[in-house]
């Protein structure tokens, strides 16, 4: 296969963070947040380990879900040979390249398994027929093996896609794109299975008696909305900071806005379907999970999610002009990122605080610590690389993209 003479669609200096630019400080700021958050977590967590582990789990899941959403975004762009999104693909690649960092941030949770997961307490199954029946799946060694498999699969996929895409910046070999496209279909299946099982292991098994066959899709829907929201914010912020100003155009922003609109509606569809079937059948072993979230102050959070994760963005993002301006899209993105956090908080925290919403300093500290690591890792990669896949064969197509 002969490659045609390299047409340079974009010069490298148009797509890197110039020296002295304020974005060069992002890794340092992230690292400082991580250290600060980590210290607060250590001090307050020692006094209240149970709260610490739940807070850490929420923040860990929030940032991990963004990375997994990014992985899905890039995989399906390859699988369907999407052209428009090439200019924002590297942002996604950078976000999912943080997966090995997320694996390290998972480790602290292992010290709190018994605080988090009732089935992991020795003897828990003795007087509990359901736990006994589930024990072949819900036991600590198998739980650890599964976690290793999840992170192994994700690390393999993220490193493969990240490294080959970076390598193409140097070689310009179009065969790389073809190879990654062929691999994208099976990779999506692997991601779907591991992400589903991981959400069941880490969220559903907080209440090991609960059943919901829809939960994996629900977690996926949230993770994808979260990532597109992050991508919208980052793309708009880059333009605001004078990076990729001529590369990412209002046309790309509009498509990101469409995704945000569509998938916040998809999240609502899945979330409501899960609730609806359980509410309608009204079987005690299913409905107690929602009952806990519809009592006391948790009911307010449930209503906030309905209105904030679906209703408000649905009407806000409907118009065309809102999606094409950087700052209005970024407002929608920030809002949905916040709602995605509330969503994960709402999934996890009622198990710890069934009496009502009990915000804790540790929630903030864990968020700052995990988020600091996430931002530092992504910011560090951004400094070392082109912000766009410079020699992807379809880059010119993406640069010229226009909505019809």
């Amino acid at each position: 296969m002969t490659s045609e003479p390299d047409r340079v669609a974009l010069r490298p200096e148009q797509a890197t963070i110039p020296p002295g630019h304020s974005w060069n400080r992002i890794p340092a700021i992230g690292a400082a947040c991580a250290v600060l958050g980590g210290i607060v977590c250590a001090i307050l967590g020692a006094a209240n380990p149970k709260q610490f582990f739940f807070s850490w789990l929420v923040s860990f899941l929030f940032f991990l879900s963004l990375a997994l959403g990014a992985l899905f975004f890039v995989l399906f762009q390859y699988a369907c040979q999407g052209g428009w999104g090439i200019v924002v693909r590297r942002i996604g690649e950078t976000v999912f390249a943080t997966v090995p960092v997320m694996a390290a941030l998972f480790v602290p949770l292992l010290f709190g398994l018994q605080d988090l997961y009732p089935w992991s307490v020795p003897g828990a199954a003795e007087h509990d027929a359901l736990l006994r029946w589930k024990a072949p799946f819900l036991n600590v060694p198998f739980f650890l093996i599964r976690a290793a498999i999840y992170f192994g699969c994700w690390s393999f996929l993220t490193l493969l896609y990240y490294r080959l895409s970076r390598g193409q910046d140097v070689t310009g070999d179009p065969a790389v794109s073809a190879r990654l496209r062929k691999f994208a279909g099976p990779a999506i299946i692997v991601l779907a299975l591991t992400q589903t099982f991981a959400s069941i292991d880490w969220i559903v098994s907080l209440t090991p008696h609960w059943y919901s066959t829809m939960f994996g899709v629900y977690f996926f829907a949230g993770s994808f909305v979260g990532f597109i929201a992050l991508l919208s914010v980052v793309a708009a912020a880059m333009r605001g900071a004078g990076l990729l100003e001529t590369v990412i155009t209002p046309e790309h922003l509009q498509d990101l806005g469409k995704f945000l609109f569509a998938f916040s509606a998809f999240w609502a569809y899945i979330g409501f379907s899960q609730f609806f079937l359980i509410w309608y059948a009204n079987l005690p072993e299913e409905s107690f999970w929602f009952r806990a979230r519809l009592e006391g102050s948790w009911e307010f959070v449930s209503l906030l999610l309905m209105a904030g994760h679906f209703g408000v963005p649905f009407f806000y993002l409907m118009g065309r002009a809102v999606k094409r301006r950087g700052w209005t899209l970024a407002v929608g993105g920030m809002w949905l990122l916040a709602m995605h956090f509330v969503d994960i908080y709402w999934q996890v925290m009622p198990t710890l605080h069934p009496e009502g919403v009990r915000p804790s300093v540790l929630d903030v500290a864990a968020f700052v610590a995990v988020g600091g690591c996430f931002v530092a890792a992504a910011g560090w990669l951004m400094r070392r690389q082109a912000l766009v896949p410079l020699r992807d064969p379809r880059l010119a197509e993406s640069l010229a993209f226009e909505n019809v």
């Binding site: 609730f275 609806f276 409907m318 065309r320 226009e402």
Partner: protein, 186 residues
């Protein structure tokens, strides 16, 4: 049924003027000039979508999204309201021990009717805005125009455009590179 839109023909002996162009690029630039000359009642006809042509023609954004929004919200409100009335007022029945007004049970039909009405709004709104269906059109009298679905590109300017003049408009189109220019009777 009289609700269908009737195509209004401009008064006078001519329906308008039809110019044929050889390539999409010729058509595109000709459209820019026709737009800049201040014509308002005119159209371009191509065998396939030409990207950016709507800008070259200066077409304003379609009001169709608003029609779809209003239709969708009407469907959703109607679906919800109908179930509310039926279940809580007209025929109150206890179903699996739930209250008469059990809003979650109403959501699937609310959603479906919202989607259905939005789709009706989109299709019927599009037809209405385009004055379709239309069983005949004066353009079809042109022999050249048969190639519009094949390999030719056209601009038609209607005679009820305030700037229309049978000879001057024809000369303008010729100067823009038209292959043929044809005056069509109404």
């Amino acid at each position: 049924m009289a609700f269908m839109f009737v195509n209004q023909l401009p008064p006078g002996p001519y329906w308008g003027i039809l110019a044929e162009f050889a390539t999409p690029a010729d058509l595109y630039h000709a459209c820019e000039r026709v737009r800049d000359s201040g014509f308002t009642r005119w159209d371009a006809h191509t065998p396939f979508p030409v990207h950016g042509l709507e800008k070259a023609m200066g077409i304003r954004r379609s009001p169709l999204p608003w029609i779809v929004l209003v239709a969708g919200l009407t469907g959703a409100a109607g679906g919800f309201g109908l179930q509310w009335w039926v279940h809580a007022s007209a025929y109150p029945l206890v179903i699996s021990g739930k209250p008469y007004f059990s809003w979650p049970a109403f959501i699937p039909i609310t959603f479906e009717l919202g989607v259905l009405f939005a789709a009706f709004g989109a299709v019927l709104g599009m037809l209405g805005l385009n004055r379709l269906p239309m069983h005949h059109h004066p353009l079809f009298r042109s022999k050249h125009f048969e190639r519009v679905t094949d390999d030719a590109f056209f601009i038609s300017i209607e005679s009820w455009d305030p700037r229309f003049d049978p000879s001057a408009t024809g000369k303008l189109l010729e100067s823009l590179g038209a292959r043929t220019v044809e005056l069509l009777e109404s």
